[in-house]
């Protein structure tokens, strides 16, 4: 069970084998240690030393994020001990030949998933423009395997993202429109949903990267930069359309999330649009439901939960590094 704590000013303590969340004198949640896998602490929530010790001892993953879901750090019972894997990762990904191989697989998987997402959404909408955009995207699929250097690949990816995002406005019918992708800060409701969703997804992938024992900061497709978790961003790329984009468009079309779930503050430069407390809880619930839904998974030839697929893909990446084999991204 994953526990998200968003209630500001609450307090985590331990009684016996139970995790108890209190606000003031009221107990707002009791969880059994044996059932809890991960606790995500969002914002100003205090935790006692006793509780920290208990959670470390029972190997419960505790992630600290800001109120808006931005990752800050985690309690690590023991860091990934697989130094051999980490050495191989840095060795392999330093060689351009291997680096480009992994980067290509990632970009290709993202493109395939983008196409599949648009197709699935367009099945109901039957918009001319979207089929037009799909026709532009499909030929790129054949060009990617022959690209040999990273800057060209990056150019292709940027191009693909632009074309892909331009289809969104034809797919949402409600009052909330996509307009264009804005981040840091997101400037409208649609972008606020995307950004918040991506941060939650990032936290999930980060956990799996940590458990597998890969180094989160050294990736293949994203260039290394101070403090940027390139490996995590790499592995997350192929899940963006499947996990978040599809979800955002469908919940907006079904009017599950509406304008009243947002707080709009035009004077605030840093965060002009944000989700309200109620909206955040609702949206986290929807994302978790998406993570816990079944998808056909080709390598295992069976249906698996999306979050298990994310974990398995990370294992496949590590395996591809060790065995020097081809990495194949997840296909939606």
């Amino acid at each position: 069970m994953i526990v998200y704590l968003t209630e500001q000013g609450s307090y985590i303590s331990i009684s016996g084998d139970r995790i108890i969340v209190k606000k003031g004198v009221n107990t707002i949640g009791i969880f059994l240690t044996k059932d809890t896998d991960q606790i995500i602490i969002m914002g100003n929530i205090s935790i006692s030393t006793q509780a920290i010790k208990h959670l470390l001892k029972n190997k419960i993953d505790v992630v600290f994020t800001t109120y808006s879901g931005q990752y800050m750090g985690r309690l690590v019972p023991e860091l990934g001990k697989n130094i051999i894997l980490r050495r191989l990762q840095i060795q392999k990904l330093s060689v351009t030949k291997h680096k480009i191989k992994f980067a290509r697989a990632i970009v290709l998987a993202k493109l395939e998933n983008s196409i599949a997402t648009l197709r699935k959404l367009n099945y109901y909408h039957k918009s001319e423009e979207v089929s037009h955009i799909l026709n532009k995207l499909i030929p790129i699929r054949k060009e990617i395997p022959s690209i040999e250097d990273l800057p060209t690949l990056l150019g292709y990816e940027g191009n693909v993202a632009n074309i892909y995002f331009s289809a969104f406005d034809y797919l949402v019918k409600g009052p909330i429109k996509f307009e264009k992708r804005t981040r840091r800060p997101p400037k409208n409701e649609f972008n606020a949903l995307l950004s918040f969703g991506y941060t939650i997804l990032l936290n999930l992938v980060r956990t799996t990267v940590n458990t597998v024992g890969l180094d989160p900061y050294y990736g293949s497709y994203h260039a290394e930069e101070y403090g940027r978790p390139s490996m995590v961003l790499d592995l997350m790329e192929e899940f963006r359309p499947v996990a978040i984009d599809y979800l955002v468009i469908s919940i907006l079309n079904k009017n599950i999330i509406t304008g009243s779930d947002f707080i709009i503050d035009k004077d605030n430069e840093e965060l002009p649009v944000s989700l309200s407390i109620y909206g955040r809880k609702k949206y986290i619930g929807l994302i978790e439901k998406r993570f816990n839904s079944y998808f056909w998974y080709e390598p295992k030839k069976k249906k698996m939960l999306l979050k298990d697929i994310v974990r398995y893909q990370t294992y496949l990446f590590a395996k591809a590094i060790i065995e020097d084999s081809e990495y194949v991204g997840f296909r939606f």
Binding site: V3, Y4, S10, R18, V21, L32, E288
Partner: protein, 93 residues
Amino acid sequence: MKKYYLISYDISDDRIRYRVDKELKNYGIRVQKSVFECNITDAEYVKLKEKLDNLIDMNTDSIRYYFLCKHCRDSIQNVGNSFINNDKIFEII
């Protein structure tokens, strides 16, 4: 693989009852004064049973373990001030 147990006790000594209670609270959810519902693995069941066996007085007290299959569990009915306990995969507070 987790299994669903309904555990009820009848214990006369206050001190022993308190201890049994404390132990059961870590494994499941109290649905009535002396009835617990626990969703536990076989290993946890063995551990819990061993702990409780050592606590109680075999001459006066009793603990009953009922194993509920999935079908039995889905057909639980309750009347009055009570709730049906279903396991969640995530929880937002």
